[in-house]
């Protein structure tokens, strides 16, 4: 298997959303929401574009409060976090105004894991940071995240891009295999991979790896469905 980042329909959508929110228009918001089921490669896509864009990425923890979020954000921005929330916001604002960058926030669902308003406050704080610093933000969450965020009208109103990560279909898997593998895969093998993996990226990778292993051992030129499990 080749060591490369596979460009799929989902990652292309992610990339174009990141480009669209990185605009210089005044008065146009810069928040994108990425939603999709577990195992479709949202975090890896965020990481890849975070590295190439020089973005700051933050993973949200369960039960994360406003203060905790601000402290983590300050640390990620390379400043020694202050004790007071007010001071923390000032620090973050200063860095983001001096060196604007995209903020990628992964697992935003955790803000909604508690019944209290702790998570909502944290999200509202992020919205305020976005308004003050005009920094592009990418919020990554699971499938129902857009419905959850719709409960916060002020934040929901600022989302200009919604990217849905979808399950990979047979033609997507075929495209991925052509980018990744040095072997030829039969149509039945591609069909099997799509069916067994349920269109998720991790099982797809595992199955391609297993198929290549079998092809190496049995010196196959074309891999069929019966050659691997």
């Amino acid at each position: 298997m080749r060591d490369k980042f596979v460009s799929t329909k989902n990652t292309k959508k992610f990339q174009s959303a990141v480009h669209r929110i990185n605009h210089k228009l005044h008065g146009v918001e810069r928040i994108a929401l990425v939603a999709g089921e577990v195992g479709l490669g949202k975090t890896v896509a965020g990481l890849y574009f975070g590295v190439s864009d020089g973005a700051t990425m933050l993973t949200i923890w369960p039960g994360m409060s406003q203060h905790w979020l601000l402290r983590e954000l300050a640390k990620e921005l390379g400043v020694e976090p202050a004790w007071r929330t007010e001071k923390l916001i000032e620090q973050i604002k200063k860095v983001l105004l001096e060196e604007p960058r995209t903020l990628i926030l992964d697992e935003v669902d955790h803000f909604f894991s508690e019944n209290g308003t702790k998570g909502i406050d944290a999200l509202e704080t992020l919205r305020k940071i976005h308004d003050l610093c005009h920094c592009p933000m990418v919020l990554i969450g699971e499938e129902q995240i857009n419905k959850k965020i719709a409960r916060i009208p002020r934040l929901n109103d600022r989302i200009v891009e919604i990217v849905r990560f979808e399950k990979y279909r047979e033609d997507d898997v075929k495209d991925m295999i052509s980018q990744l593998s040095e072997y030829r895969f039969g149509d039945d093998a591609i069909e099997k991979i799509t069916k067994v993996s349920d269109g998720r990226i991790r099982p797809i990778m595992r199955l391609i790896h297993a198929a290549e292993g079998a092809a190496r051992i049995h010196q196959l030129k074309t891999i069929g469905a019966k050659d691997f499990s």
């Binding site: 060591d3 980042f5 990481l47 975070g50 590295v51 990425m57 993973t59 390379g78 020694e80």
Partner: protein, 163 residues
């Protein structure tokens, strides 16, 4: 190493309580008193140390007046950052460090795929970070070994020596 770094290192290593005198530093580093004074003035101006006591020494006729000056370290972390070697930014090492921090446990392929590093660069970086005690493997060795980050120094990559 330049004078600034030698003196800064001596202050941090030899005076953990943060109090030191000009004579002590000059004697310890072997740097002339006037050059030591210059460096300490720079540190004072940057708010890293503070002059807490200045007593005039016994006057020796024919020489300019001398003082016994005692300093106090105000910000150890900032002083350490001031004397740390300056690193280039937005390099392939920065990209690899970003991936390492975000993934926490990772394999060589993660750095190749996500950070766009060459296999040899990624290998060298793994070795250097391991030597520095920043990462460690989950099992002794072999292909596909998984690594974990054990010392996260923040978004700025740690300095690793080339040797």
């Amino acid at each position: 190493m330049n004078k600034l770094r030698i003196i800064g290192k001596a202050i941090l290593d030899q005076y953990p309580n943060g109090f030191f005198s000009l004579d002590q530093i000059s004697k310890l580093t072997g740097i002339l008193r006037k050059y030591t004074t210059d460096v300490l003035v720079v540190f004072s101006q940057e708010g890293l140390i503070k002059n807490v006591k200045k007593i005039r020494k016994e006057h020796v006729p024919g020489y300019s007046p001398r003082f016994s000056v005692i300093y106090k370290v105000l910000n150890k972390k900032a002083l350490a950052a001031r004397i740390a070697p300056k690193l280039k930014e937005d390099t392939i090492q920065d990209r690899m460090w970003f991936v390492i921090r975000k993934k926490q446990s990772f394999v060589l392929q993660d750095l190749i795929i996500l950070a766009g590093a060459k296999r040899n660069s990624a290998r060298w970086y793994f070795k250097a970070l391991r030597r520095a005690g920043v990462i460690r493997p989950l099992r002794p060795g072999g292909p596909g070994v998984e690594w974990v980050l054990v010392r996260d120094s923040g978004p700025k990559r740690p300095y690793v020596s080339r040797t």
